[in-house]
Symmetry: C2
Subunit: 393 residues, 2 copies
């Protein structure tokens, strides 16, 4: 007995809103139709992940090609066993596009052969831009996510035990996060990053450079995953930066708070305050139409003004950004970096993470996830105390 289930989980109005945003971005790129395969994009368009494709064009309703699971149904749902089955259903003219930034070269070759074409346009950028401006429903979903994320962080001081390592503390945070409904999955676009549920950085380990494109590093517990907690025992005088996964509903909020054991040197306290101050300034400065790079420049200017430049966004190795879009994936548009060409738009959801690494102490600073409003700058979705939180000795 197979119980059929409607493929589309979004309500009709929300699905139409997302579709019309995607179409507008496709049109701006000269794309007339596109076949979508990336799980994050399929989730965006339908509200669920399935193994298959969504075909979008400018006029007709989308078509949903489903390989698995086989019990999904609805209007315009076509069951396929292989990509070649789609050829008779889609029109592949000069304006046809595929997700060239995420599909493998071999996958694109196979699709082109199946459709009798030699190349396709690239729809990856259009989807990325469409997804960077969240709908009110998406913002509401992320707001709920932020509430849970904040709750998990409020439990962190109770999880600390004398003599704990960074890994042990992280494991206890993972546990409470999962018990609060955290899905664990850390969705990252592209192939330049790997991470398991987030980062807890204690003391000098924050200064260990990692291969990945994260704001902070950490040596990690194994050379197969060289990032984050490395087994450092948490000792007095160390900062402990907690930057853990907040994916409770398919959307992610990104949030960092700094904890510490014992007292930290004045330089670390100053840097932490600088991080908070930078957030306050950028929250007001951000507005639709502002260049993303201007936010980076202002953050950098404040760091320099306070004599903290050498610790800004790392010490042995520096990250090249202080913020990034976040949503279904942790690295969405806009990018807040010196060479970013992104222009802020109402509905962007942006994580700001102006952080510092102080030798001998560790990482300090905060990260919040914000939604960009029309008239009130950035509004935080991760409302929790921002001062350093001290573990009971």
């Amino acid at each position: 007995m197979m119980n059929n289930e409607n493929l589309i989980l979004l309500d009709a109005a929300e699905a139409a809103r997302r579709l019309s945003k995607v179409r507008a971005c496709m049109s701006a790129d000269g794309i007339g139709s596109a076949l979508i395969r990336d799980f994050a994009n399929i989730y965006y368009l339908t509200g669920r992940v399935f193994d298959g494709y969504v075909c979008i064009d400018m006029e007709r309703e989308p078509k949903y090609f489903v390989r698995r699971p086989m019990h999904l149904c609805g209007e315009n749902v076509v069951s396929i066993s292989k990509p070649e089955n789609m050829a008779e259903h889609i029109i592949t003219d000069d304006a046809f596009a595929l997700e060239l930034d995420t599909l493998s070269y071999s996958a694109v070759q196979r699709l082109c052969r199946a459709f009798g074409i030699v190349s396709a346009r690239n729809v990856s950028g259009a989807l990325r831009r469409a997804r960077s401006v969240k709908t009110p429903e998406e913002v509401a979903t992320m707001r709920e996510d932020g509430v849970k994320h904040v709750h998990v962080y409020s439990l962190v001081p109770k999880l600390y035990r004398d003599g704990m390592t960074d890994v042990e503390l992280q494991v206890e945070i993972e546990r409470v996060s999962r018990l609060e409904g955290g899905l664990g999955q850390f969705r990252i676009a592209g192939d330049s990053m790997e991470l398991f549920m987030g980062n807890v950085l204690a003391g000098e380990n924050a200064d260990a450079p990692s291969p990945y494109d994260f704001a902070m590093g950490g040596a990690g517990a194994d050379p197969s995953l060289p990032v984050g907690a490395d087994g450092t025992v948490i000792r007095p005088g160390m900062s402990v930066m907690v930057d853990m996964n907040g994916n409770f509903n398919g959307y992610m909020t990104d949030m960092t708070r700094t904890f510490a054991l014992g007292s930290l040197p004045q330089k670390a306290l100053d840097a932490h305050q600088a991080s908070i101050d930078i957030c306050r300034v950028l929250e007001k400065m951000a507005a639709p139409g502002v260049e993303a790079k201007v936010l980076y420049e202002e953050a950098h200017r404040i760091a320099v003004e306070r004599g903290l430049e050498q610790y800004f966004m790392g010490h042995r190795q520096h990250a090249g950004f202080i913020g990034h879009g976040v949503g279904i994936q942790v690295n969405e548009l806009p990018v807040i970096s010196p060479r970013s060409r992104d222009i802020l738009q109402e509905g962007n959801v942006i994580a700001l993470e102006p952080k510092f690494v102080i030798p001998g102490t560790g990482a300090v600073g905060i990260e919040n996830t914000y939604v960009l409003t029309a008239g009130e700058g950035l509004k935080s979705l991760t409302n929790a105390p921002e001062q350093i939180i001290y573990f009971a000795e």
Copy 2:
């Protein structure tokens, strides 16, 4: 102060063994030189993950192009800031290859432009074949992994509490796995699967079809990650299948055991015994030179003979394989499926998972990870009791 660190973490003899296997597979595919980017392949060749490329040809020592972290050094290590920097260092003739199965179409286009070529051969298959035959050092690493994996499973009965959901049980298993040194990261090749640390399937949820290419499904806790535990309360008469991540050192073992609360119907007990019996038969039948599909056929034959065909590898949705290679990633060669063309080789490490889904009860069966020996068939790396383990009521 930047402390430099040698890039190569493998000992010289082991690095040479792996290189010579890769070269032999490249040569068989008519490939003269290749640029390797995939993290799993970089880890295989060097013993660490870094952001960059490894260039292999038939005569010269490999070259290591490192973008990040910047403190890695050693012979033939070249620092790059972008792929274009490699052009002057490599020879891209007709026999030059890239990993076309994992690099995105856009990434391949960019590399081809940088090197002034229009296309490249595909080295993905050569790497996959080379990695499918483990070196003795890799087998030793996986053996250590299996010991830890087995230890974690031995703790599962103590983690069960009356009234627990499948998610809650899974979270406690995740915790003990992580505290035993589990890295959490579940490395999967390709874009057809997503999973967070493994699967715990209780009762009827085992029969919920998933979009992913795993042996078993499960509805999952959210449509953004529709696989595995879904919040089912564990009740008497349910089986609880535990198939959790065993990545303690960069290599994965794959292992499943079935737990239960109260008594299970005879059909479920028979199916569980059939799974064990299938493993016993295949352990002896497997030998270098045997076709992988023959193992599938024999497993299927036993399932049919015992009247269990409709429950074999799923009930509402059936998986098309009963085993797979495993190593750095969970889905390596050989594939044990009816249409597999793979021939078993000494040194293959293979997970066998002949499982059944019994309506009203749940999933039963076992999974072990084995190394294929020259004269003694498959030797298990996951040596733990295989009978159903009953939770204390």
